[in-house]
Every structure is written in C-alpha cells, then in structure tokens.
Subunit: 452 residues, 2 copies
C-alpha cells in the first residue's frame, strides 16, 4: 500500500510523552491555583460564528484568523479567550452571578507566519473577574496575586510584575497638551526596552514632531523608577493638575497596598510607567510580567482593567480585570532555556510491575493493590526478554520496578528496585508499598521548574 | 453602537458555570484513573493537514469533516482521536517505548445534522495500548478494567460491558459458508436491539437472500447468552471446525479470566455475540458499554483490538487495543437523565469570605490563611448591601461563608455560617479552619453521579 508521510503542521506544538507530562503538570497547577481563589472553570467552543467573533473587528489579528464556511455558516476559530468570554457573559448574563470569576485554559488559533517559538495553535490560560456595573479596585490586586501563587508553585521565582495605570498616562498626556498624539507616543515608548531612550527620543522629535523639551518631559516621566515610596512621591508632585491622573495614582497606591495583603512581596512588582498595553481596550491598571533572566522574551503574562467587556454585544456595563498567560509559549521557553528541574521526574507511573515468567495474573492482582494504595502502577504484560523489560523501565524514567517471579510468589514477597540507585530489596508487599509511597512523596516535593 | 447578537453555534456545547464544574470533575476522574494505570497523557493538534487526516479516507464521516484552506495548505479538523494517534505513533516511532499506553481527552469535530444530544464539537476520552509487532492478550482485559474503575469512581454502577471477539464471528461465517455475505449479515445483526429478531430474520432472508435455515442458524448463534460458563460451553461445541473461531474463543476466555484478576466483577460484563463494531478496523476483542437503565442510548464507551494502527503511514506492524468514551454525549445524558448526585456540590469555592464594612484588607489576609490550609476561598470585595452579599453566596452554592466585621476583628474571631443549615458559629480562625475542612471532607465523599 502506498503510504502518506505522517507529519504535524508547522507552528503546531506536538510534544513527546515525557514533555507532555510536564505540560499536564503545569496545567494542573494553573487549574488548582485558579480554583483555590474561587474561580469557575470555563470552556467555550473553538469555533464561533464569524459575525460574533469579529463583532469588534479583528484589528491586527484579523488577517491571521482561520475562517471557513460550512453549509450556510461563516465560521472562525477563536484567536483569543477574551472575545469568547465577552460573548459568554453577554449571552448568559441572566444565569451568572457577579462578580463573575472565571479561568479558561484553551487552545486559540492565529495563522501567523511560522517562526521559532511562535505558534499557530497555542494555549492561553486566562483569569478574569467581571463586575456588573462596577468592580472594586481590590480585584486589580487579586489577579496578579493569583499569578504570583501560580509562579511560586511552578518554581518560577525570578520574575517581576510591571504595573501601571492607564489613567496616569492619559492624565499625564492631557496635562502636557499631548493627548492628540498620545497613541503615537505610547507606541514609541513601547519600544524603549528594545531600542533604548535615545532612539525613542528621535522618533518622538523627528517622526512625531514633538518639541525637544516635550519629548524630554515624556522620557523623564517614563523613567521614574525606584521603590514604591519614591515612585509614588515623585508622581504625587503631578497631583492637582488633572483629575484622571490623580484617580490613576490613587488606584495604583491602593493596588500596591492590597498586593501586600495578598502576600505578594514587594520585590516581585514594580511601578513601570512605560507599560501601556495597546490603545483602545484597557482603561485602568495594566500589567506585564518578565522573567528576570530572560527580559529578551518580553512579557509572559499580560493584562489589565477594562471598562466594557462586551460592548459589542450588550448595553450592560461590564467592567473587568484579567491576566493571560501564553502557556504554549511559556512552555516553549522553559524547555528551550532548560528550566525544567532535574529532580522533576516525568514518568507515566510510580512503579512498573515486571513479571518474570508466566505470572501475569499475579502481577495484575498486585498492581491493583498498589493502585488502591494510591500508587500509579503499570504492568509489563508482554513476552519479552528480561533485559528488554528493564530497558523499558529505564527509558520511561520509572522511579521503581516491582519484580515478581515464582521465587517471590512462593515466598509471598516482592522485590523492589530503585531504578535510580539500582538498589533492590525483597520485602512483604505491604512494606514495599510503604517504601514506594515514601520515596514518591519525597520526589514530589520538587517543583517542576528551577530557575535559580 | 449597534450590537451583534451574542450566540453560540448550534451543536456546540457551552455549559453554565455549575455544569462546567461537574464536567471538570469528570475530566479529572478520567485523567487520574488513566494515569493510575501508567498511561501517558497526549495532546495533538486540532488541525491537521487534510492529506494526513484523510489518508485512510473518511468513510461515512468524510462529508462531515470540517475542511478549509489557509494559504497553500489544505487543512481539516480532527474527527476522532484515533487517526491523530496513528499519525503520532508513526511520526514519533523512534522516540516511543512500546507498549505505548496513552490517554487523550480532546475535542473532535463532525459537521453532522444538528439534533438533540448530537454535537458537532465534542470531547472524546480515549485510551489505547499500542504494541510494536505484537501485543499481549492481557491488554484486552486491562482496557475495560480501567473503564470499570472510571465508572466506579464517577458513581456510575448500573452499566454493562458487552464483549465479543471478531475472530469468533469471522470463523462462524466461514464455517457456515457465509463469509461473502458477512458484512451484510453483521449490519443486519447490528439492528437486533432496535428492531428485534423477527425483523432481522426478514432482512436476512428477503433482502440478503439467505435460506430460512441459514438465517435461523445465525439468529440462534447470536442469541447465545447467559453466564460465562454456559456461553463458553455452548461455543465450545463449534470447536475444531475453524482455526480462527477457536483462536477467538481462546482469546475471549483468556480476557474473561484476566478481567477477574483486574478485579472486575462478573456481573459487569457479558459475552455478546451480536457486537461487531464495523467491518474493516477491529480484528479481535470488541467492546460496547450500555447503561442498564438507558439501553435506548446505545453504547457510551466502545472500542476493540486492531492489528494495524498506522498502516496508512508506515510499514511497521502496530497492533493495539483501545476504548473511547463519548464524553460530551455522556455528560449530556447524565444531565438529561438527572443523574448528577444531589449531594454533589458544584461550588467554585469551599468558603466565601464576606467582609462587613471597610475590612477588605483583613478579609484578604484571612483568605490567604484559609487557602494555605488547602481551603478554596473567594473573597467578596464589592461594596454591596449585606443582603446582596448573602444572596451571592447562596446562588453560588457555597457550602460555608466566613463573616468578618469590626466586632469579629476586635475580638480576634471569625463567624462561620453553614449555608445549608443556616447554623452560624463564632470561633477562633484556626478552629474555623478545622470546622470547614472537616465539613468539606465529608461532602467530598459523595460521588458525582448517583444512578441507583
């Protein structure tokens, strides 16, 4: 028969089994942490009506969207999880309680040009809190506090939140008579990490046509850095000139205080006035998150506060605040930078039962007892040579093998081999179970990522 | 602004938050059970190249497949998880260890005519064991044994596996000189549960043109039922006439014996000679699974043994055995038949902290302590009237509220309200934590489904 060459489309992540175990571990940490803050899980279709999905217009992403017809329907694959959330909340408004806290971990699709580390199908992991008419500013601290917990549990410790408030920026531009150019200026400022302040100054004066003095005013303002007290003091000097500015500063101070209540240490976040997150969606607090040792990667978790989640679907005012982790990209970076902890074992089971000779039935019975004791247990049922059986156990990174032959069965014992040390002990089954459980517990203390 | 009417495409399941919690609970039981048997998780792209996905030809499903072009690529959405598995194993053959045990829970797409209980986007939850060249018959018992565990853990107790072996059927048709008509006969027999034996007899004689006596031979054979010993004894009378028949019977007996070793009680499975599962894929053991109280639904979990997983992609002989749960459909049935246990609480958190007056910061600090103690905790941060706060807690089905006002803060205590009984106690935080943990533990004993 003529064969079709098996292949996976470029830009689509397909992991080998051990990597997939790590991905699942990460997903579960995300799910468990989001749940621990009382967020509902949410799942929406991958396919939506094009009309609904593109109600807002797709902006820059529009040409990347996968669209197609089926029968009379004009369909599209979701390109983020925010638009489906907006649709969901508008559609099911009467069945939801507000504030509505939800997380969603799902695949989204963008037909980007394929390049290293860029994916056409990728997971986003979003959390959002949606209010009905109003939403307390404390929620703006809860969202990054949850991400802080997620990163702690993953073992990612070398990261920093960059927090700003769009009202501060808007107010600043108004008080300096620059609001008509605010969009252009923000786009220029957005490049400051990549091209440096000298080049940005050039764009501001030459391309945008600002007076040198005004450009410097902007650059001086954006460079306000330091510990929170210093930043807030320097910003407070602008107070009284613009109401929006003052409101934004108040919010930033409140968020900073609430972050303390949520247990986020000060060194994990800084006020960064250069963060704007686009032009037309976010209206208050905005966040980006960088890995300290890999600033070149850019933000691995971004988001902010918005006034109107679903204005394209409903007249209801639905403010919200959210953060999104680009999970597939984060996973790619963790792999590429070899940040998975060496102590983390990506094995599909805790113990592999290896029957010697004709004792599959006994092996199966013992595997049931192990499973009932909470041990993930696989049985090697194939008729292969002993060497091949052991090689299978080694290649799967199994921490323990349980060896069962006629000798063991007649004596009512089992032999347990620690596959890392090679140590082998013969013992009663119940003692063997304790041995394995203790060993697994110790190994499970290790976090999946080690970025130290 | 003109609004777009928010809607979800028909045939696409989109659950309300409480239902979604139940769906996630079910998914997790599946994941945990599959993992406990040492199965790797697997995730493959939703989109594949059409050429790869349709290598075999789509058969009846071909016209239901979502296909579209993007750039130069001819793409299709996966319509099951078996073809992606075949591609995966052929593509990554050198990186896999065999037997390769994997589970995959993922969405698949079929543009069927929309009707009640039929979905165009639906989850399948598959387990398969793939061998390299050979695969032991014991694996044919492991796969249903895992599904038995899954159903036990879900609380589904009123179900039955129907097991057959294609070699028995093939052998039977050969020994009766019916092999040329085997396909037609099997299709007719497949309808026996729906239209009854009299109608099937009519099809066999009138449509297929069998002699009355031969039709009765088939119907007599298919009606062999009873306990395993009886069935095996009646079948053993056909021994010696066809080697394939004998092999199939041997396999069926071995599988039945191994099921005992795996701890599957006899009453949960029966030999059912009318099960064939299509014509061209399965080659040995075949399974269907029915809910005893809802036979009209048909099989909720089906599969079998196949000789050649990936013959369209590789010359390698890759036999396997697998079972697939139609998860979205199963969920739909559990909902529709009101089989979710009343004791099962679909709440996003264990406790909702309700601050009275201006004490969000204290509430947030306490929520952190609760979370650190393993309690899923949400804080109500909005400025609303007390009545609205309590109503929120009730509507979300929260088991406990923790009420915190100036009175409690000054005394260093908290008030904990059991939202079901209405009972409220004031206590030290640490005692409150114990109270909540014990309560939650008791509630979590309940299984999600109750079909008794």
């Amino acid at each position: 028969m003529e064969k079709v060459i098996p292949r996976t489309l470029s830009g689509f992540m397909e992991l080998l089994p051990a990597d997939q175990i790590n991905m699942e571990k990460i997903k579960r940490i995300l799910q468990d942490t989001y749940s621990s803050y009382g967020f509902y899980p949410l799942d929406t279709p991958v396919i939506e009506s094009s009309e609904v999905l593109l109600a807002k217009g797709g902006g820059d992403t529009e040409k990347q969207i996968y669209r197609f017809a089926k029968g009379d329907s004009n369909l599209a694959l979701r390109f983020d999880l925010t638009v489906p959330l907006a649709k969901y909340v508008a559609l099911h408004y009467n069945d939801l309680q507000f504030p509505f806290k939800r997380y969603q971990i799902g695949k989204v699709y963008r037909g980007e040009r394929s390049q290293r580390g860029r994916f056409r199908e990728f997971y986003q992991a979003d959390i959002d809190i949606i209010g009905d008419g109003a939403l307390d500013i404390a929620d703006d601290a809860e969202v990054p506090a949850i991400i802080y917990q997620v990163f702690q549990k993953l073992g990612i410790t070398e990261f920093q939140f960059h927090i700003n408030n769009r009202k501060i920026l808007n107010g600043f531009y108004v008080m300096n008579g620059m609001s008509s150019k605010a969009g252009e200026i923000m786009r220029a400022i957005d490049k400051i990490d990549k091209i440096g302040p000298v080049m940005v100054r050039k764009i501001l004066t030459e391309d945008i046509g600002m007076y040198t003095q005004k450009a410097d005013t902007v650059l001086d303002f954006m460079s306000i850095k330091g510990n929170k007290e210093e930043v807030f003091e320097r910003l407070s000097k602008f107070r009284g000139m613009n109401a929006q500015f003052d409101e934004g500063l108040d919010e930033l101070i409140i968020v900073s205080n609430y972050l303390k209540s949520y247990g986020v240490p000060e060194e994990f976040y800084e006020i960064d006035l250069s963060i704007a997150r686009g032009l037309d969606y976010y209206t208050g607090t905005v966040y980006e998150t960088t890995l300290k040792k890999h600033p070149e990667i850019g933000s691995v978790c971004s988001g902010g506060r918005y006034d109107n989640l679903a204005e394209f679907y409903t007249d209801k005012q639905l403010p919200g605040v959210g953060l999104s982790i680009g999970l597939t990209r984060l996973f790619y970076i963790l792999s590429e930078q070899k940040m998975f902890s060496e102590a983390n074992i990506a094995s599909p089971c805790d113990v592999l039962v290896l029957p010697m000779g004709e004792c599959n039935s006994e092996a199966i019975k013992i595997s049931k007892i192990l499973r009932d004791a909470g041990i993930r247990t696989s049985v090697y049922l194939e008729k292969k040579k002993w060497k091949q059986k052991l090689s299978y156990a080694n290649k799967m990174n199994v921490p323990y093998s349980l060896i069962l032959g006629e000798n063991e069965i007649s004596k009512g014992i089992v032999s347990i081999k620690d596959m890392k040390t090679g140590e082998q002990v013969s013992t009663k089954l119940q003692d063997g179970i304790m041995l394995i459980k203790c060993g697994i517990e110790q190994k499970n203390v290790e976090k999946i990522v080690c970025d130290a």
